[in-house]
């Protein structure tokens, strides 16, 4: 009798600093589909995991923001290439998580295209949103966007892949690093997407992805003193209030994307999402004045 080949199951781990550890807490939860069939054991990340991930994100900040914008564009494009290459796996996971075949196909397509969209912006938003300012005194004065730093992101809960990609891409396109909490109910694609990132020349620590419960971890995302901004995508009034209160501890920038249809390009992608996590830096330098006419810009 021929033996049936035993399928190799995937272990879904979290992604911190370019590594795939299990949660330090040793905890897990079972991700299920709508019929309550178990899909995988998923890491139930802890506060310590959040802190480790933020340390990794901070360490990666200088290197990533210091990359040439063109280089960041190449790397975002590379993520899209890797995603395209593994589309079958994502479609499979999306279907496991209750998507129809048609919806799964649409979601992977939109996700790839969204990465391409932001890859293109990496070296352009500075020109659209920067300025040379015509000051009245004899100075050269210009303003440019710079990344705000480390951003914590609670990814859209109802979207396994597209929501995740839509919130990560503008943050890293702008030179920030991030710690992302994946959808609690649909976590599979987030871990697989971490594998895509890990094979796309994205330096370790630029994107860190945790799985777990927003109800437990949002507080730590919002209160950590070495985080510069937080993104939250649900419309839960109590959580929003909690985030805003905790954010005030170190004057974090708070970004709520709670009413966005991530499938609609017109509202789900724009350079304004990049600018939300940018600071404007203005630099002054004197201009020598010789003779009668004042030099200036």
């Amino acid at each position: 009798m021929a033996t049936k080949r035993l399928e190799v199951l995937k272990t879904y781990k979290i992604y911190i600093g370019g590594q795939f550890p299990r949660t330090e807490s040793g905890r897990y939860y079972v991700a299920t589909n709508k019929k309550q069939q178990a899909l995988a054991n998923v890491c139930l990340s802890s506060r310590k995991d959040v802190r480790d991930a933020i340390v990794a994100a901070r360490a990666a900040c200088g290197g990533w923001s210091g990359r040439a914008a063109f280089n960041r564009a190449q790397i975002l494009y590379r993520i899209a290439e890797m995603l395209e290459g593994r589309r079958a796996q994502f479609v499979d996971e999306l279907i496991k998580q209750d998507a129809s075949a048609k919806d799964a196909e649409q979601e992977i397509n939109l996700s790839i295209d969204r990465l391409i969209y932001y890859a293109g912006w990496c070296d352009k938003y500075q020109q659209v949103f920067g300025s040379v300012n015509p000051v009245a005194s004899s100075h050269f004065n210009f303003s440019v966007p710079e990344p705000t730093g480390v951003v914590t992101i609670v990814a859209p809960q109802n979207s396994s892949l597209l929501g995740l990609v839509s919130v990560i891409a503008p943050i890293i396109a702008g030179g920030n690093t991030c710690v992302v909490l994946a959808s609690e109910d649909k976590p599979l694609c987030s871990v697989t997407f971490a594998e895509v990132i890990n094979s796309s020349d994205v330096p370790g620590g630029v994107v860190n992805i945790l799985t777990g419960k927003p109800s437990e971890l949002v507080k730590y995302f919002a209160e950590h003193m070495d985080v510069n901004a937080i993104v939250y995508c649900e419309n839960d009034a109590a959580t929003k209030k909690l985030i805003q209160e905790k954010a005030s501890l170190n004057v974090k920038r708070v970004l709520f994307y709670d009413s966005i249809n991530w499938k609609n390009d017109a509202e789900a992608q724009s350079p304004y999402f990049i600018m939300d996590a940018q600071e404007i830096k203005t630099t002054w330098h004197p201009i020598e004045t010789v003779g009668s006419a004042k030099a200036g810009y």
């Binding site: 009245a136 303003s143 203005t282 630099t283």
Partner: protein, 492 residues
């Protein structure tokens, strides 16, 4: 024979060569004995029935008494602003809105002398600074934003930005009229109406501005100016019918405001404290740099959120920089703010003087070396000698906390990486200064310093077209320039 270092600093002997007093006349300043609240285009008695005094910090004499707005007064002002927004301002063609703002700019220019004198009397800053910086910049700010009113779509590609509604604005006492201009001008240009509260120690120029606004025929309620202290500010922040809070002041209060608006839909921008690094490299033009250091920390008595309060000197030029700095401090004229020769005027309030003294004592207790100007301070009024500390550790409270006074903390460094690390090692990120003659070094530093405004080979320069605002705990949002518009618009 001992080798002597040549000192090429020209040291004027001020003992024998004194400037004659050159006081500005007070005659151009008309200050009423009492001011009410400016609500809905009229000066109204406060429902609180309370008034408080505002004094001249250089003489401790009372200038006027000013109404103290309570919660009911704030509510009245917000209702006026809401009514004006719904029925007049949001319906007015943008170009007409702009013309009102242009008109206000012109009227400030016409009365510039009067504003300068009142600013100096009420706040203590040297008349030269009021006259040459505060007032012209305030007028220019209105003039700049006026032109934006009918051009907003050009500032936000692919978007049709919308006004927010009623803006509550709370401003500090260090640049009273200028801060009012920074708040009101962009808010009006973007189609919002305003409830503004000036600081309790410096309300007069904002109230004079209210007179101008009344004369300008701006529709009633578009701008409401109400006076009071912290409780009045809190009533504005907590009012349920305000759409936007813009605050300039301390990081401590900024955090309280950010927390207070949690759970509401109020949009906020915060321009908070700073502890700027001013970095001088060995290849800098030393004399120019010393002037920049002096201007960085002693401009406006150091009451500047972007003051260059931490000086980093490269070790190889430490001795010469210190010598020139001390020589220059000796020539600073400290005293009567109304005297046109005065470099450093009066500390804004008794309370602020006590804060500064507290920090000077902390510095002494920490064992830091102190140097202060040998100038003689006036007997009356609140004054502080220009002071600096050397041998300052990175961990010293003098180097970490905002003092908001004429106190400079000096540290040394050897390498670029070291000074970048030290300069960025602070919770603040408002501004920084870099002094070097090497262009490539300028841009290396300016791109790596985590601060919103970087002055290279200059310091403390401001312009309406130039965005201003902080990174990290120095706040968020920008004021000035194109980037200042988004603070008052819904763009997404």
């Amino acid at each position: 024979m001992a080798k002597s270092t040549k000192n090429n600093t020209l040291k004027l002997k001020f003992d024998t060569l004194k400037y004659a007093p050159a006081p500005e006349s007070k005659s151009s300043a008309k200050i009423n004995a009492q001011y009410d609240l400016f609500i809905n285009g009229k000066f109204e008695k406060p429902l609180s029935k309370k008034y408080f005094d505002t004094i001249n910090p250089a003489t401790e004499e009372k200038l006027s008494s000013v109404a103290e707005a309570n919660t009911a007064d704030v509510d009245k002002a917000v209702k006026a602003a809401r009514n004006a927004y719904n029925n007049v301002w949001s319906k007015m063609p943008a170009k007409e809105r702009g013309k009102y703002i242009f008109r206000i700019a012109r009227m400030i220019q016409e009365r510039a002398r009067e504003f300068s004198v009142i600013e100096t009397l009420d706040g203590g800053k040297p008349i030269r600074e009021s006259r040459d910086i505060d007032i012209p910049l305030a007028a220019n700010h209105f003039f700049y934003y006026a032109g934006w009113a009918d051009k907003l779509a050009y500032a936000f590609p692919n978007r049709q930005p919308k006004s927010l509604g009623v803006a509550g604005q709370i401003i500090p006492w260090n640049f009273p009229l200028l801060m009012a201009a920074w708040k009101i001008a962009p808010a009006l240009a973007t189609g919002n109406t305003v409830v503004l509260k000036p600081a309790e120690t410096t309300p007069l120029t904002a109230l004079k501005l209210a007179e101008i606004i009344q004369e300008s025929d701006l529709p009633p309620g578009v701008v409401n100016i109400i006076t009071g202290a912290g409780a009045t500010g809190a009533a504005i922040v907590n009012h349920s019918d305000i759409n936007k809070i813009a605050f300039t002041g301390s990081t401590e209060v900024g955090k309280i405001i950010q927390r207070a608006v949690a759970g509401t839909n109020k949009k906020i921008t915060l321009e908070l404290g700073g502890k700027a690094a001013n970095i001088i490299f060995e290849d800098a033009a030393i004399d120019a740099a010393v002037e920049g250091i002096i201007n960085g920390i002693y401009f406006n008595q150091g009451h500047v959120c972007c003051a260059g309060s931490r000086l980093f000197v490269q070790e190889s030029v430490y001795k010469i920089v210190m010598q020139k700095l001390k020589d220059r401090i000796a020539t600073l004229i400290v005293g009567d703010p109304m005297d046109k020769n005065t470099d450093v005027g009066a500390i804004n309030s008794k309370q602020q003087l006590e804060t500064i003294h507290k920090y000077i004592n902390i510095g002494k207790k920490e064992g830091l070396d102190i140097f202060e100007s040998s100038c003689v301070l006036p007997e009356k009024g609140f004054f502080c000698k220009p002071t600096l500390f050397t041998n300052v550790a990175q961990s010293s409270r003098i180097a970490q906390e905002e003092i908001f006074g004429p106190v400079l903390a000096i540290q040394t460094f050897r390498t670029d990486d070291e000074v970048i690390e030290k300069a960025n090692n602070t919770a603040y990120g408002l501004s920084a200064g870099v002094w070097t003659d090497k262009g490539s070094k300028v841009f290396n530093l300016t791109s790596k310093l985590r601060a919103g405004v970087i002055w290279a080979n200059t310091y403390n320069k401001f312009d309406p077209t130039s965005p201003f605002g902080g990174y990290k705990e120095s706040g968020f949002g920008r004021e000035g320039g194109l980037h200042g518009l988004s603070a008052y618009l819904n763009v997404q």
